[in-house]
């Protein structure tokens, strides 16, 4: 009996909790991608680097706060710095939209052309981030490390297997829930949010209804910048901040958005969790779990790991390909431009 409990705890500890946190981060990233796709109608390749910029701005403010001795006690100081990071990123994307994207929007450029433009923006953001903070790992997490540590859990329950919930994981999940709830309330209940959905649904009719496209676009960028910064900071708190990692997040984020259906916010969230759970479960070594569950004689020698963690990108990729082959509009029927 306790073997089964131990196995469950191990699965929770090594798969469920990390995957939920990672899934929340991916979902927030994918929401940004999907909003841009829905409203501005192109795949934004600069999104990973927008996340990096947002995280970087937050880190710089966090360091300053830390140097001033200002903190949130057990919570990471980064949460306090987050609004400043969001503001900086909003400024950056709005300036980018004004100087770069607006021209092509007015010229009604083809979506694939905008993707190439976003590639240029990606370069610039990437360079900017490396220029300001450098290409290396940065640590900015502070406050309490654990909500529940493995040792406390073992003492509490008497099990052999520990269950640890890092505070960064708990914060990620709580923040993601709040942000997503706010976003859906905004899109579903407010007049402005509805006008954004209307614009995404049928641009010409939205214009006929007197919806101002520039306002919708601007609001979209503000939301996207906020989502990207929050996703970037949460990922950085949970793992670490390294500019190149954020660029690489582009693949799982796009996979999440496409799997869910580009343009569908609900799909982006579902896609984020599908990708995260598959990635974590497939790259997890099940040796320990098997050790609890199987009779001693059957215990495997190897790690019982389907794929090494180095191939986690392959997981998002395979899921992406499967969905593209069998349901090209994604699980939640996104839109096809």
């Amino acid at each position: 009996m306790s073997d089964i409990l131990n196995a469950l705890v191990a699965i929770t500890n090594f798969i469920l909790i990390p995957a939920t946190a990672y899934g929340s981060q991916l979902a927030l990233g994918a929401l940004g991608v999907t909003l841009i796709y829905g409203i501005l109608r192109f795949s934004n390749f600069a999104h990973g680097d927008t996340m990096a910029f947002g995280a970087m701005s937050t880190i710089l403010v966090t360091w300053w706060l830390q140097s001033q001795g200002i903190g949130l006690g057990p919570l990471p100081t980064a949460l306090l710095a987050l609004p400043a990071g969001v503001a900086a990123t909003v400024l950056l994307v709005l300036v980018t939209d004004r100087t770069v994207y607006r021209f092509y929007r007015r010229a009604k450029a083809k979506p694939v052309f905008l993707v190439i433009v976003s590639m240029g923006v990606m370069f610039v953001y990437n360079g900017l981030v490396r220029f300001i903070i450098g290409p290396d790992d940065q640590n900015f997490a502070d406050g309490a490390r654990f909500l529940i540590s493995a040792r406390d859990f073992k003492q509490m329950t008497g099990l052999d297997e520990g269950l640890a919930i890092r505070s960064s994981q708990a914060i990620t999940i709580v923040t993601a829930v709040i942000v997503v709830a706010f976003l859906f309330w905004f899109l579903e209940r407010t007049r402005t949010g509805k006008s954004m959905r209307a614009f995404s649904d049928n641009e010409d009719l939205a214009l006929l209804s007197g919806i101002n496209p520039e306002r919708v676009v601007m609001l979209t960028w503000v939301l996207v910048a906020a989502l990207a910064t929050i996703a970037g900071v949460l990922y950085g708190l949970d793992k670490s901040f390294k500019p190149f990692t954020y660029f690489q997040l582009l693949l799982p984020i796009f996979a999440a958005a496409i799997v869910g259906g580009l343009g569908s916010p609900l799909g982006a969230i579902a896609g984020g969790f599908i990708i995260a759970f598959s990635e974590v479960a497939i790259t997890y070594a099940f040796k320990k779990v098997a050790g609890y569950l199987l009779p001693e004689a059957w215990e495997p020698d190897g790690l019982v790991q389907l794929l090494s963690t180095d191939y986690k990108f392959a997981v998002s990729f395979v899921i992406l390909v499967i969905v593209l082959l069998f349901r090209p509009t994604g699980l939640f029927r996104g839109k096809a431009v």
Binding site: M119, F123, F254, G302, D310, A314, S316
Partner: protein, 430 residues
């Protein structure tokens, strides 16, 4: 006219570098410029001819590099006897599972039972593959890990690795094209981005194949070694006659030899690409690019044509990758960065002029030159900007240290400026 002028201008950049720093440096940049031009040619085929958005260039380049290693390096007999046949068997099993899946899907009618059968075959196939492969990998990687620990290559002349690189890249492109072409253009982009990440991950982690991050070094060369030249009396004597230091002379000679080889490949490919572009086939490609619906309505098989050109373009990137590894004499999987390859090559194509082969070549040289030179220029600018500051000023130190990252910023700005003000590039398509 414009073409001649712009090429002369870029040529001048290299000549000026030759005089101001050294001919060695100028030739070094020139050789990579040749390779970059070939990559740009490949991407231009895909984007310029057919409008295909491939952001997995780095993957195809890396595959080309792998091919050069697999062809040119001597085999490791101990590793082969330790697990060679078993690896081959595992690969066969993997391929068998894929073939079985395809056959199954053809034979059965769509529905839940087919989906379940597909999954079952794939899962069983995967475990079988891993069960055969894993012990072999362990055995091979245990063989003298500090110097080999991999199967090695075929020990053939390294030049044969170039066409092999093309083949390997073409094979991967065919597989990815089969799945992602015919879908929306940005889906192809994401799919290629993904396959490139996976190829790089394989190169980094499958030590039995590519030694992973331990790198394969000492690839045989198609041209003489500097040391041999320096010890050749006739060479040293001739260098003295010309009044050049033999060491410099040897290194320049080697670089010139490479340049000759690369230029030959570039010219041949350029000639072929021009022929193709102006043939009925090329006209059809452009017709498809400009109006897919109309071309499809006229009975052109758009997806099949796209697959063709996607494979061709990727094969050219594969050749370039093999050439680059030959030039470096080593395969360093850790150095394949998408920003450096994929996206930089895109900047070359767009700046040079998409749809124009000469434009792509020009872009290749120009952007590579800038990529190399922006760093020292950035440093110089930063020193100029901060010259008024005190030497210990942290801002000054930061700016000077960060000058290296000016590259990405500059390339991004160049790309955006060209897209905005001259979207057809320096040499527009005729």
């Amino acid at each position: 006219m414009r073409t001649v002028f712009l090429f002369a201008l870029v040529g001048l950049l290299f000549v000026v570098t030759g005089f101001t720093s050294s001919w060695n440096v100028a030739l070094g940049i020139f050789n990579m410029g040749l390779i970059s031009a070939i990559m740009a040619l490949g991407v231009n085929m895909q984007w310029g001819y057919a409008g295909l958005f491939n952001v997995g260039v780095v993957g195809f380049v890396a595959l080309g590099g792998l091919a050069a290693v697999l062809v040119g390096m001597p085999p490791t007999p101990d590793a082969w006897s330790a697990g060679g046949p078993r690896i081959l068997l595992a690969l066969l099993a993997g391929a068998g599972a894929v073939v079985a899946t395809i056959a199954l899907r053809r034979a059965m009618r769509p529905g839940w039972s087919r989906a379940l059968a597909t999954v079952a075959v794939l899962v069983v196939g995967f475990f079988l593959f891993r069960a055969i492969l894993d012990p072999a990998v362990e055995a091979i990687e245990a063989v003298n890990p500090s110097s080999t620990g991999y199967l090695g290559g075929l020990g053939l002349p390294v030049l044969l690795g170039w066409p092999a690189g093309a083949l390997l890249a073409a094979g991967a492109a065919w597989a990815i094209g089969k799945t992602a072409l015919g879908l929306r253009s940005d889906y192809l982009a994401i799919a290629t981005l993904g396959i490139a990440e996976i190829i790089i991950a394989v190169l980094k982690n499958e030590d039995w194949l590519s030694r992973g991050v331990k790198n394969v070094i000492g690839l045989p060369r198609p041209v003489p070694y500097e040391v041999d030249l320096q010890s050749s009396e006739s060479f040293v004597a001739r260098a003295r006659d010309w009044g050049i230091d033999p060491v410099t002379a040897s290194s320049i000679t080697v670089k010139l030899a490479y340049a000759g080889l690369f230029a030959l490949v570039l010219l041949a490919l350029l000639w072929l690409a021009q022929m193709a572009l102006n043939s009925p086939w090329g006209r059809m490609m452009r017709a498809i690019r400009d109006n897919e619906t109309a071309a499809a309505a006229m009975g052109k098989d758009v997806t099949a044509r796209h697959l063709q050109i996607f494979v061709l373009g990727s094969a050219i990137c594969g050749i370039a990758g093999a050439m680059m590894v030959t030039l470096d004499g080593q395969l360093t999987p850790g150095s394949y960065q998408p920003l450096r390859f994929t996206f930089l090559v895109w900047v070359m194509v767009i700046v040079g002029g998409s749809g124009n082969n000469l434009g792509a070549v020009l872009g290749g040289f120009l952007i590579w030159f800038l990529w190399v030179q922006v760093e020292p220029i950035g440093l110089w600018v930063m020193e100029l900007v901060t010259s008024g500051m005190d030497g210990g000023n942290p801002l000054r130190q930061h700016l000077i240290e960060s000058a290296a990252h000016m590259r990405l910023l500059t390339m991004g700005v160049i790309l955006l400026v060209v897209l905005r003000f001259s979207p057809r590039g320096l040499l527009p398509e005729r």
